[in-house]
Each structure stands twice: as C-alpha cells, then as structure tokens.
Amino acid sequence: MKDLAENSGQPPGAAPNAPPAIELRGISKAFGPVQANKDISLKVAKGAIHGIIGENGAGKSTLMSILYGFYKADRGEILINGKPTEIPDSQAAIAAGIGMVFQHFKLVENFTVLENVVLGAEEGALLRPTLAKARKHLTEIAEEYEMNVDPDALIEEIGVGQQQRVEILKSLYRHADILILDEPTGVLTPAEADHLFRILRGLRDEGKTIILITHKLREIMEVTDTVSVMRRGEMTATVKTAETSPEQLAELMVGRKVLLRVDKKPAQPGKTILKVEDLRVVDDDKVERLKGVSFEVRAGEILGIAGVSGNGQSELLEVLGGMMPATGRVEINGEAIDLTGKHSDGRSRRKRGIAHVPEDRQAEGLIMDFAAWENVAFGYQWDPAYNKGWLMDNAGIREDTAGKMERFDVRPPHAHLAAKSFSGGNQQKIVLAREIERNPDLLLVGQPTRGVDIGAIEFIHQRIIELRDAGKAILLVSVELDEIMGMSDRIAVMFDGRIMGERLPGETNEGELGLLMAGVTSGEGKA
C-alpha cells in the first residue's frame, strides 16, 4: 500500500500528535472462496472527512460492516482513538462512538422523527420521560449543526433529504464521534447533496470524524480531506484529496487508464421515432405519477431524462415498455401504440421495435436464478428463431448466447451460469446484448450503469452511442447527472411527473439542471 498521506493529512479540526480516530491494522475477511478484504490498514485522523472510493465489490461495504460490527474480521485489529477495540455487534460500535448512515435508511415510516431517533435507545419502561429528554437533546443537536427537522413530523411525510438528516441525528443522539455514510447522495438532488456536504463540514469542524463511502469521484474531490481507494479487497492507496485528481483516482480504482468523458460525435438526428403526447399515469394508490408528459425522440439521437429518482421517470419507462397502463398518446414511427388494452404489454412493444433495458436489472431485466442463456431468450421466448415447432430450441439459444457473450465481452463467458453469478457490470452487459442486438428502432434505457464498475461503464456507454450512430432513437433515464450530461444530445428534466424543461448539454450546466430537478424553473432560479 502506498501511503502518500502518512502524517501529512492533518485536517483543520485535528490536534497535533493525537491518535487517529480510527486505525485498522491488517483487516482480512473472506466469504467462502471470496477474499472481500485483504490485509487492510487505514488511519483516519480525528476531525477529518475521509473518503473511501472503489468499484462495486471492491470491499468498501464489507470493511465498514466490520467496523460497525455486522461482520467479524478473520484477522486484524481495530483501534478507536488509539485504543484496541473489539466490535462484535452494532451495540458495541455505538458504544465505541461509531454511527452509521446506511444507503437505504432504517427508519420506521409511520413513526415521528423523535420516535425514530429514540428507537432502540429508550431508557426505562415508560416512553414519555425518554421522549421529553430526547426532544430537548435533539433540539440542541439540531441547532448546533444547523439540521432543522420537525421532531413531530412523520417520516413518511418528509423528504429524503430530511430523512437522511434524521439518520444522522440518530447517530449524534447516541453520541457518535465517528460517522460513516454509505453512498449518501444516491437519492439526493444536487442541492440536497450540497446541503448534506455543508452539514458534514460543520460536523467535521466540531471535531467529528466522518467516513464517506461513495463511487462518485466528484463528491470525493468536493468534500473530503483524504481519500482511500479500494480495489478487489485491497486498499490500493490513501492520498490527500488536494494532491490528487479524478483521473488518478479512477486509474487507482480500475487499475488502468479510464476514459471519464464519453467520446462521441455530434448527433445526426433523422425522422421522429417516438412521439409522446400528454402522457398520464395514475398508480394503484390513486396518485398521479405522470402529469401530462410530452416529448419526441428522433432517429440517431439520445434524449436524456434527468431527475431525482421518484419523479416519474420510472413510470415513464414502464409505460413505454408496456409494463403499466396510461392515458395519452404514444406514437412509434408515426403509428399510435395501445396504452391500456390487450396490446399493452412488453411483448407487443418488442414486436413494435421497442427494446427496453430496465432500471432494475435484478428485479426486472433478468431472472437471477436462470442461466445466462435462458436470460438471453427472456422477453423474446416467442421468437421463431428460438423455437422449433412446439419446443424451444435450447441448443440454438445457447449458441446465440455464446455469440452475444463474446461480442459484449461478458465475463466469464459461460452461458450455463446463473445470472446471479455474474457481477453487476456483466449482468448489465447480458441485458444490453439481448436488447441492442435486436436492432430496435427505439431503445429505452434506465440507469444503464447503476452498480456497474467504471471499466464496464465505458463499454456500455460506447455500445449505446454505437446504436445511436446506427440511426436508432434512444431514451436514456438516469439519476447520474454526469451520465446524462455526457451521453445525451438533448436533456429533458423531470420533476413531480412533469417535464420542467429541455436543454442542450452544451448550453447548460449542472447548476441549472439541478434547479430544474428541484422543481425551480429557470425564471425563478435566476431571480
């Protein structure tokens, strides 16, 4: 391990010569044959924001789970403030002053903020005294760190940004000095993320130690003091953020030079392929999810839909993919498609030349228990090419799969392996191979690189661009603003079931898109 930051990464809030808040020595952890963490050593100075970056499966979460007492390390030592500490469970982690904010919040939806904060830390058999005490304490903390949350609001009634603050408050209420945040910005708008970073800086200045786990290079550069890079279970480097660059970090993460920008020629848009007019969707709870969406996608262009998740993008993809009924009008190549009736399903859509890479490949795009070859036929099992008379042509499908796996560089290239045996990136390549090689007129793509390693991201982006250059229309939905900015030829921003505006990527910036994503139209934003 090269430790460029040895003794030099003293952050503002740190006392000189103080022992590191966290020190890990030679932590190893194996799950069966998989070595998730290999001999990891790490020092995080007190009062620092320390980033841990790495691809999926690099071992970040395992390492943090060891620190939080979910897993027991096979070997190695944990020192908290210089003292060797055993952390057999999360109670011990809390006692050692460690708090964790998970990617998926662990809050009780129909409890109030106050009740959630107290949950698990109740004192005595009666709730009332604890609640009264907690209310006072909570107000103090909230004031100290400028985290305003109404203690009596129900969790289900407050926004995700606020919910995350409740998670942080929970940790602080339990006197955490070390706060671990796992991919905290995944569900936030840029503005909410900025607010979070302000809170984190405030906490650091008060002497708290913060560990930020993320795969977003931009966040690392923006908010951390020092950063460690993990690759394949090993800590490959720890550097001072000020002395590194996104390119260097990406290279350390992947082990080779990576193209961070999407390389593409200007689009050559042709005739209109997809025309959507006044699309509306009401879900099972009678909530209107799409409130009159209209747009067009032309041949040879990528229309990117930006927005914070949960603002109707998923429903838009599902309607176009035939998974959900809707009202309004949708035309493919000038012909209307059925949005409610018998011909409103995935199969009819595929027959009309619409291919769909769904947002959630594990729950929708693939059957995880099915072999790769079965997944290659999945959705197209009716195709005569995959059938011989009454029976399916399994041998033919396997052969086809072998070709697809080779062309899309799926590793390992074994058609008989279950989908769940592949990494996220390779799973996504299987889905892409299936959908892109159909040569569709329109490709719907949702979150193409979510949970995909950086090396595969490059490949996936190239394949989508290639399809565009072949004169196909592409509708790209992503919550990653970088991806939208890099891939799209036009950008539409969705907020609360509506399209707030369309921009050209060359003529806009993240700030403007961020405002649109938060529902502020440009007039108000500039004022």
């Binding site: 199969r347 769904p358 729950a363 059957i367 228990d369 999945f378 399916m392």
Partner: protein, 368 residues
C-alpha cells in the same frame, strides 16, 4: 461466485442425510416404546419390497403421490402454493366416477382416456376458482385452496349420499363401476412377459400413466415456451411483467394444470382400486404430495423417487402396525419426521454440508 455444492450433493446427498436423520430419530422413538428398531426396519422393508404383493401396494400408493406431487410441483414453479390437491383429487374422483357410470363401457382402453379427461377436468375446475380469485382479486391461493378442500369434501358427501348412492344402499358410496372400466393391474400387464406379479395388489396401469405424466411435466416445464414463461413468472413476477408475460394467464393455466394432475390421481385410487366412488377416497394423498414435491425438489424425477419412498413408508408402515403391535399413530410420527426433515428442516442439513464443501474447496486451492 460459484454454486457452493456440486449438483449431485444438492440432489442426492442432502435428501439422503435428511432421510437418515429422520429414520435415526424414528428408531429412537421405536426404542422408546420398547420395540426393536432393527426388526421394525426389516419388517417395513420386507413388507414393502419383499414380495410382489408388497411392491404392488408400494407402487399403488406411489402412483397417487406422483400425481399429487407433480401437481404441487407445477404450481410451485409458478410460485403458487397449491394446498388444494386433496380437494382437487376428490373432485377428480367424482369426475372419474361420473364418466365410468355414464356408459356401459365396452373396454377399459376406451374408458380410461375418457375417465382421465373427466378426472382432469373436474380437478382443474376445482382449481380454477381459487386461481381466478388469486389472479384477478389477489385472494391468497393458500387460503382459498384450503377452503376448497373442505368444500370439495362436502360436495362429495352430498353427491354420494343424495345423488349417486344406489337405491336401497345404506353405504355412502356410488354403485360399482361396470366391468368394462376395470383397469389392468400390474399382474395382468406383466403376465405376458412371464413375470408373476401378485394379483391381490392394487397397482395398475395408472402407475405407467403417472410415469408418463412425469415426462410430460418435465417436457412442459423445461422445453416449452409456456414452461419457460411459467418458471420465469415463478422466479420473478416483476421481471415477467417486464418481459410481457401475463401474470393472470400464468397463474390460471398453471393452477389448471396442477388441479388437472391432482384430478388424474382418481384413475388410480377410484377407477383402478376401489372401482366405485367412496367417501374420503383420497386419504390425505393430496397433502403427502406437498412433501413429495418438496423432497423431490419440484423436479419430476425427484417427485417420482420421493413418491416411491412415501409409498414404501405407507405400505411398510401398514405392515408394521399389523405385525409388531406398534400403534398406527407411530407410523404417522415416522412419516411426519420424514416430512419434517426432508421438507421443513432442509437448511439444517444443507448448511453444514455446504460448509464442508467450502472447506474442501479452500483446502484444494491451498494445496495447488
């Protein structure tokens, strides 16, 4: 990541060890009531496999369990927990009886296909309403099929007492089927080959039809488009919707096939053995089918093997009760233990075996 265990360990070793554990505990129970477990095992094995008479009963029971096991397995692959085999088989019996009594059938070879259609149709019909309620209204299939078991029993009771009972008879049973519907037993089938098979045992041509059903179910599940869609839906409903597979269609058709298979069982117990319709003719075979399917990993080959094992337990258990003055209830305990270990406690055996395989693999790697 790879599968932890080789396939043979998954399909052979785990059930085998579960079985040994179940028999081990059963032996302790037999010891506990002061009997000799070794003698009991001997008696069970000779009773079930020691003579063609024993075989005849073992295979007769196994035939019932193959049909109900397949029925459960097919529904299971569509993630439907069909508890209603018992009721569907009961109604299947009614269907078979109505067909058999409808005409003076000249020959069994004509009566059998007709009876199969009757049994399968009635069984499928009994599964249709729960399936429809699940597909369209979201009523849980477990609840509705259980309720339909009771309704089915009541329907049979009503039909036998009020409609089908021959005039003057005090017995709640149908009239005897005409001789033209009597199925050839294994004795009749094997005699031309020079094999002496007991003529007293009820095993009949239905056993061969059950084996054929195993093959067809396998073909349907793993070689046809519908089977592909059914299994895909069973693994992930959201993915099935994405692929344009209609959940309602899969639920209903899978349940119709499942109910039809349950109903087919009646050609064995009603047409093949009793040769008339009696009350409670299914005798719990519908529930045993669940255990058979669980133990057979929902695969037709596994179902056939597990059905023969349960046939052995039934027949051997009956012998035990007859010759060793071991109470009949204890046989139920042994059967229960087998179900418990092979079905419910599967993971208890699986986890340690997986760990052993992991260690072996790690050692093998270290040795390289």
């Amino acid at each position: 990541m790879m599968d932890v265990m080789p396939r043979w360990a998954d399909v052979v070793l785990v059930p085998l060890i579960s079985l040994i554990l179940a028999f081990g505990i059963s032996a302790l129970v037999i010891l506990g009531i002061g009997k000799d477990p070794v003698e009991a095992v001997k008696l069970m094995v000779t009773g079930a496999f020691g003579s063609t008479y024993g075989w005849g009963y073992t295979l007769f029971y196994a035939t019932n369990f193959i049909f109900t096991g397949l029925a459960f397995a097919v529904a299971s692959h569509a993630s439907m927990f069909n508890i209603g085999s018992e009721g569907q088989a009961t109604l299947g019996g009614l269907g078979v009886a109505l067909v058999c009594l409808a005409l003076p059938w000249p020959h069994w070879a004509i009566a059998l296909p007709a009876a199969m259609i009757g049994g399968a149709l009635f069984g499928a019909a009994w599964a249709f309403l729960p399936a429809w309620l699940q597909a369209k209204r979201g009523s849980h299939i477990v609840i509705t099929t259980i309720m339909f078991n009771f309704i089915g029993a009541a329907v049979l009771n009503y039909m036998l007492v009020n409609v089908m009972r021959p005039e003057g008879s005090m017995d709640p049973a149908s009239a005897k089927f005409p001789a033209g519907t009597n199925l050839p037993t294994l004795h009749d089938i094997l005699a031309p080959f020079g094999i002496e098979f007991s003529s007293a045992a009820p095993a009949n041509i239905s056993f061969l039809i059950a084996l054929l059903a195993c093959f067809l179910v396998w073909l349907m599940l793993w070689r046809t488009r519908f089977g592909f869609e059914l299994r895909a839906f069973g693994r992930s409903e959201s993915a099935a919707v994405y692929a344009g597979i209609s959940p309602a269609k899969i639920i209903i058709v899978a349940m119709l096939i499942s109910g039809g298979l349950s109903g087919l069982m009646a050609i064995n117990n009603v047409m093949g053995e009793a040769e008339r319709l009696v009350l409670n003719s299914v005798e719990g075979a519908g529930f045993i089918g669940i255990a058979v399917a669980l133990m057979g990993r929902n695969h037709p080959v596994g179902v056939a093997l597990a059905a023969i094992l349960f046939g052995f337990l039934y027949q051997g258990g009956a012998e035990l009760a007859l010759w060793m003055s071991i109470p009949r209830e204890l046989i139920v305990v042994i059967q229960g233990l087998v179900i418990l270990f092979t079905g419910a406690l599967d993971n208890m055996v699986r986890m340690p075996i997986e760990r052993v395989f992991l260690m072996m693999r790690r050692n093998a790697k270290a040795g390289e």
